[in-house]
C-alpha cells in the first residue's frame, strides 16, 4: 500500500483551494477600496493641468492628494475589513451549519480542533494574501507619483483594518459556534450589536414609567460612551462622523495605540472560546437554530424580557399601569411563542417549556412587586453625605456640582421631600428634579423625582440657589444674587417669552410677600389660574412657572411700579426683535383685517403698544377686544418666523 503523508497542511491547501472564490472577492474588494480609489484620486490631478502655475504648486497639490488618498482609502479599507471579517466568518462556519457536511467532517480522520484551526487559518490567510497584494499595488501607485512617504499612513490603517477583520471574524465564528444555522448566526451577530443598547433603552423607559425614582438613562450613556467601544463597527462609524478629517490620521493612530489592542485581545479571547464550544457541540444538531439548549434558553428569556417591557410601555401610553401589566404579559407570551418557533425551528413548538414561562412570569412579577414596593429600599435609598464626593442637580439642562457637605445635605433633603410628599393626584404644580451622586469610590448614582413646590423643599432649593457653588457654576455671569425671574409671556399657554427681568434679593422678598398675601395661602400654587399677566420662574425651580393673573392685584401693581413700560425687554433684544419684523398684521378673531403694515415705525409702535400688558398703572386685562397680532419675523437675531398672538387691546 502506497501511503502518503497526510498533514493539516494538505487539508489547509485543499481548503484554500476550495475558497478561491472568497479570495477573489477579497482581492477585488480591497483593490477597489485602495489602489483603484487612490488611482482615481491621483487621476484628478491631470484634469486641469493649467491650474498650476508653478511646479511647487503642482507638488503641493500632489502631496495633498496623496495624503487624502491614503487616509480615505485606509478608512474605506477598515470598514470593508469589518464586512469581510463577517463574511469570512459565515463562510468558514458553513461546514458546521449543514448536517451532511458536519457529518462528513466529523467522520474524516482529522480532529475537530484541527479542522477548525485549518478553517480559521484559511480565512486569515485569504485576507492577508489579498491585503498583501493590495499593499504591493498601492506602493507602486504611490511610488509612481513620487509620494511613497504617504503610503505609511495607509499601512497604519491597513494594520487597523487587519485587527478589525480579525475581531469581526472571531465574533462571527463565536456566533457560529453557538448556532447551527447561518441565519441564526447572523441573528446572534446582530443581537450582539443591538441587544444591549435596545435592552438598556427599553429597561430605562420601563423603569422610568413604573418606578418614579429609577433612571437608567445614565446606564445608556455609559454604554454608549464606554461599552460601545467593544462593538467596533458602531464605535467606528460614530467616531468616523465625528473625527473624520482628510488631513489627520489621529483616529487611525488612536486606534492603533489603544482600541486596536483591545480588539486584538478580544478577538483572541473569542477564538479561544470557540474551541471548548466546538468540542461540546453535537454534530447531530447541525442545522438546528441553536446547538446548546441552555444557551437557547438564555437567549429566549434574554430577548423575551425587553420585548415584554417594550409592549408594556406601548400599552402604558394607551392606558395606565394596569394596561402596562397587561401589555407586559401579552408581549412576554407572544415573544415567548415566537422565539420558541424560531429557536426550535418548529411552528408547533410555541408552547414548548410553558412551565418555564410560568415560573419566569412568577419570578418577574415578584421582582416587579419587590421593586415597586421598594422592599429593598433601592428606590428610596439616598447615600449618606459622608459617602458622597459630590452631588449634582440638573438646572435647565445644566449640571451643577455641589461639594460642600451642607449643600449635599440640602440635595438629600430635597430628594427626601420628593419621596415623602403626599400628593398622589399631582394636584400641585411640580418641579422636576434630577440629581446625580458621585460616591467616594467614583460610582455614580442617579435619581430623579418630581416634587410639588411647598415650603419645605423650597427652603432646601433656596439654600442651593443661594450657595456659592451654584452661583459660581450657573450664574457666574450675573452680578446680582438673582434667582427669581419675571417673564412676560405673549399669550396664555405660549412658551414664547419676549421679556425677562431678574429680581434682586430685596425685590424677591417683597414680591414674595405680596404674592403670599395675594394668594392668601401658604401654597402659592393652589389657586386657580386666570388670564396670565406674567410668569414668575426660577425661584422655585427652573421649570416652575407662577402664573400671575388679574386677581393678584397687589403683585401686578408692584410689577407695574417696577417696570413702568410693562415690557422688560432689554434694549438689545427689543431692538433686534422689532427691527426684524417686516410685516405686522392685526386681525380680529374672524380674520377680518384691522391693520396691515410694513412701515418700521408703525410696526414698532404697534408692537410696543399692543404687546405690553402693563403700561404704567394701566393694565389691560379687564377690557378691550381679543385680536390677533401676526408678525412676520426675519431677523438674524431670532431667525425667520411668523408669530401670531392672541391678545387684548
Amino acid at each position: 500500500m502506497n501511503l502518503r503523508k497526510v498533514s493539516n497542511k494538505n487539508l489547509l491547501f485543499n481548503t484554500l483551494g476550495r475558497q478561491t472564490p472568497m479570495l477573489l472577492l477579497f482581492v477585488i474588494a480591497q483593490l477597489l477600496a485602495v489602489p483603484v480609489f487612490c488611482m482615481l484620486c491621483f487621476s484628478a490631478l491631470f484634469r486641469e493641468p493649467s491650474a498650476f502655475q508653478t511646479l511647487s504648486e503642482y507638488s503641493d497639490y500632489l502631496h495633498s492628494c496623496a495624503a487624502e488618498a491614503a487616509t480615505m482609502s485606509g478608512h474605506l479599507l477598515i470598514i470593508l475589513s469589518a464586512a469581510l471579517g463577517i463574511f469570512a466568518g459565515f463562510v468558514v462556519c458553513r461546514y458546521l451549519m449543514n448536517w451532511q457536511s458536519a457529518v462528513l467532517f466529523a467522520s474524516i480522520p482529522v480532529r475537530r480542533e484541527k479542522q477548525f484551526a485549518v478553517m480559521v487559518a484559511s480565512g486569515l490567510l485569504i485576507y492577508l494574501a489579498a491585503l498583501a497584494l493590495t499593499a504591493l499595488i498601492s506602493v507602486v501607485i504611490f511610488a509612481s507619483h513620487g509620494c511613497l512617504a504617504y503610503a505609511g499612513n495607509l499601512y497604519r490603517l491597513m494594520l487597523a483594518g487587519t485587527i478589525w477583520y480579525i475581531f469581526f471574524y472571531a465574533l462571527t465564528l463565536f456566533a457560529g459556534m453557538l448556532s447551527g444555522m447561518s441565519t441564526l448566526q447572523g441573528a446572534l451577530l446582530a443581537a450582539a450589536f443591538l441587544y444591549l443598547p435596545v435592552t438598556v433603552g427599553v429597561l430605562g423607559l420601563f423603569c422610568r414609567l413604573f418606578y418614579n425614582f429609577w433612571n437608567l438613562s445614565y446606564l445608556w450613556e455609559a454604554f454608549w460612551h464606554k461599552l460601545s467601544a467593544l462593538f467596533g463597527l458602531t464605535y467606528y462609524l460614530v467616531n468616523l462622523t465625528k473625527e473624520f478629517s482628510i488631513e489627520t490620521t489621529r483616529f487611525a493612530l488612536d486606534m492603533q495605540l489603544s482600541t486596536l489592542l483591545a480588539y486584538g485581545i478580544a478577538a483572541l479571547c473569542l477564538f479561544a472560546a470557540c474551541i471548548p464550544l466546538l468540542r461540546l457541540r453535537k454534530h447531530s444538531l447541525a442545522g438546528q437554530p441553536m446547538v446548546f439548549a441552555r444557551v437557547a434558553s438564555v437567549v429566549k428569556y434574554a430577548i423575551m424580557v425587553p420585548c415584554a417591557m417594550l409592549v408594556g410601555v406601548v400599552f402604558y401610553y394607551i392606558g395606565d399601569v394596569p394596561a402596562m401589566i397587561f401589555g407586559c404579559a401579552i408581549g412576554g407570551v407572544l415573544s415567548f411563542m415566537l422565539l420558541n418557533v424560531i429557536l426550535l425551528k418548529n411552528p408547533r413548538a410555541y408552547f414548548h417549556n410553558i412551565k418555564g414561562l410560568a415560573i419566569f412570569a412568577v419570578v418577574f412579577a415578584l421582582c416587579t412587586f419587590l421593586l415597586a414596593a421598594d422592599v429593598l429600599h433601592i428606590d428610596t435609598y439616598l447615600p449618606d453625605t459622608g459617602m458622597v464626593d459630590h452631588a449634582a442637580i440638573n438646572f435647565n439642562g445644566e449640571w451643577v456640582d455641589f461639594y460642600k457637605q451642607e449643600n449635599i445635605q440640602a440635595v438629600n433633603d430635597l430628594m427626601d421631600c420628593a419621596q415623602t410628599e403626599d400628593d398622589p393626584d399631582y394636584q400641585l404644580p411640580r418641579v422636576y428634579l434630577k440629581t446625580r451622586y458621585t460616591l467616594n469610590g467614583g460610582l455614580q448614582l442617579e435619581k430623579q423625582a418630581e416634587l410639588s413646590v411647598l415650603d419645605q423643599p423650597r427652603t432646601s432649593l433656596l439654600q442651593l440657589y443661594e450657595s456659592d457653588e451654584f452661583r459660581e457654576s450657573v450664574l457666574s455671569e450675573c452680578e446680582n444674587q438673582i434667582f427669581l425671574h419675571l417673564t412676560f409671556c405673549t399669550y396664555t399657554g405660549s412658551s414664547y417669552e419676549y421679556s425677562t427681568r431678574s429680581l434682586d434679593q430685596q425685590e424677591i422678598e417683597t414680591f414674595m410677600q405680596l404674592l403670599r398675601q395675594a394668594v392668601g395661602n401658604d401654597s402659592l400654587f393652589s389657586a386657580d389660574r386666570g388670564p396670565i399677566v406674567a410668569t414668575v420662574s426660577g425661584g422655585f425651580g427652573p421649570s416652575i412657572p407662577i402664573y400671575l393673573d388679574a386677581r393678584y392685584d397687589a403683585c401686578v401693581k408692584w410689577i407695574a411700579e417696577h417696570s413702568p413700560n410693562g415690557i422688560l425687554l432689554t434694549n438689545q433684544t427689543l431692538d433686534a426683535y422689532i427691527s426684524g419684523i417686516s410685516q405686522a398684521t392685526v386681525t380680529d378673531l374672524e380674520n377680518h383685517p384691522l391693520k396691515d403694515t410694513s412701515d418700521p415705525e408703525e410696526i414698532r409702535e404697534l408692537f410696543l403698544n399692543s404687546m405690553g400688558l402693563i403700561t404704567g398703572d394701566d393694565w389691560k386685562l379687564n377690557g378691550g377686544n381679543l385680536i390677533y397680532f401676526t408678525f412676520e419675523h426675519d431677523s438674524e437675531y431670532f431667525g425667520p418666523s411668523t408669530c401670531s398672538y392672541l391678545w387684548r387691546q
Binding site: 500500500m1 502518503r4 497526510v6 476550495r18 462528513l104 466529523a106 467522520s107 480522520p109 482529522v110
Partner: protein, 295 residues
C-alpha cells in the same frame, strides 16, 4: 476487529440505542437491518466516530474510535445523505479525501469512476441522484481503508449498478479483507452480500446471526403426507395447510429432515430455499416480536 461494548446513545430524552454488544470480525460483511428509527444509522455514525457514545465503547482492534485520528484513517463512512462541496467535481472531492486519507488511491479512483462511467471532471451537482450515490461509493472505495461503513448505500441505484457495487465490495473483501458494515431496511438488498446480519429494533439488537448458520438450520418444507403422519420427530417452527399440502418451516439439519419424511412415505415432498426475509420473520416470531413492528 470492531468491538461494540454496551453502547447506548440518547437524542435528548429519546433513547436511540441501548445496550448494544457486537463483535464484527475482519473481512466480514455485516448487515444492519431494522425498521425506520431502529437505530441503524445512529450505530453507524457511532462506529465512524461522528457521534460520541453516551455510554459504552467502540473499539477497533482495541482502540477507541472517538476523536482518534489513527483509527479513523482506517474507516470510511458512506452517509445516506452524501455531501459534496458546492460546485465541486469528483476530482476535487478526490483531492479532499486524499488530503485526509493517507491510503487514498488515485488510480483506484480513476478505475472505479471509469467502471461506473462517471466523468470525474464534471460538477457533481449536475449528476443524477443515482450518479451522486455512485460517486460517493467510488470516493469511499478509493480511500482504500480497512473498514467501510455504508448507510442505505443501495438506495437509488439501478439494478445493474447495484450488482456492480456488490461485486466490487465482494472483490475487495476477498482481495484485501475489507470489513463492510451495511445498514439497510431492505433485507433482500443484504441477502446476496452479507455474511452476518444484525436486526435492530427500537435501539436494541433483536438478533445477530451468521446467515449460513441460519440457512443451514432452518428449512422450508412443502409436503403431502398420509393421514395421521407423526411429526413429533422434527422441530416445526411454523406450519400452514392448504388442502392436503402442508408448508412447514422446520429447524434442523437438511439430512435429518429428509430422512425423517422419507420414512413416512409422503405423496409429495420438497425442500424450498428460505429467503432471508422468511428466516427473519421466523426468527422474530420465535423471539416473540410482531412482524409488522420490526420489518
Amino acid at each position: 476487529m470492531i468491538e461494540i461494548k454496551e453502547i447506548a446513545m440518547n437524542y435528548g430524552n429519546f433513547p436511540a440505542l441501548s445496550g448494544i454488544n457486537l463483535t464484527i470480525g475482519d473481512g466480514s460483511v455485516y448487515g444492519l437491518i431494522g425498521s425506520n428509527g431502529s437505530g441503524k444509522s445512529t450505530l453507524l455514525r457511532l462506529l465512524c466516530g461522528v457521534y460520541a457514545p453516551g455510554n459504552g465503547q467502540i473499539l477497533y482492534d482495541g482502540q477507541s474510535v472517538w476523536e482518534n485520528d489513527k483509527v479513523k484513517r482506517r474507516v470510511v463512512y458512506l452517509s445516506d445523505e452524501q455531501y459534496f462541496f458546492p460546485h465541486s467535481s469528483m476530482a476535487q472531492m478526490a483531492d479532499f479525501y486524499a488530503s485526509v486519507y493517507s491510503c487514498f488511491s488515485y488510480p483506484r479512483f480513476e478505475e472505479l469512476a471509469k467502471r461506473f462511467c462517471l466523468d470525474t471532471g464534471r460538477k457533481i451537482n449536475t449528476f443524477s441522484k443515482g450518479m451522486m450515490k455512485q460517486a460517493a461509493i467510488v470516493l469511499a472505495l478509493a480511500c482504500d481503508t480497512a473498514y467501510i461503513l455504508c448507510d442505505e448505500t443501495f438506495d437509488g441505484l439501478d439494478p445493474v449498478v447495484r450488482h456492480s457495487v456488490k461485486s466490487i465490495i465482494a472483490e475487495e473483501v476477498a482481495c484485501r479483507s475489507l470489513t463492510v458494515v451495511l445498514a439497510s431496511h431492505n433485507l433482500r438488498e443484504l441477502e446476496d452480500i452479507c455474511d452476518h446480519i444484525v436486526l435492530l429494533h427500537r435501539g436494541s439488537v433483536v438478533l445477530e446471526a451468521d446467515i449460513d448458520d441460519v440457512k443451514m438450520n432452518l428449512h422450508k418444507v412443502q409436503t403431502v403426507l398420509p393421514q395421521n403422519a407423526n411429526l413429533n420427530g422434527v422441530d416445526i417452527v411454523s406450519r400452514s395447510d392448504r388442502g392436503s399440502l402442508s408448508t412447514m418451516i422446520i429447524k434442523g439439519r437438511r439430512g435429518h429432515i429428509e430422512s425423517y419424511f422419507e420414512v413416512m412415505n409422503p405423496k409429495f415432498f420438497e425442500i424450498i430455499p428460505l429467503t432471508l426475509e422468511e428466516i427473519f420473520i421466523t426468527e422474530m416470531e420465535e423471539a416473540g416480536y410482531e412482524l409488522t413492528e420490526s420489518l
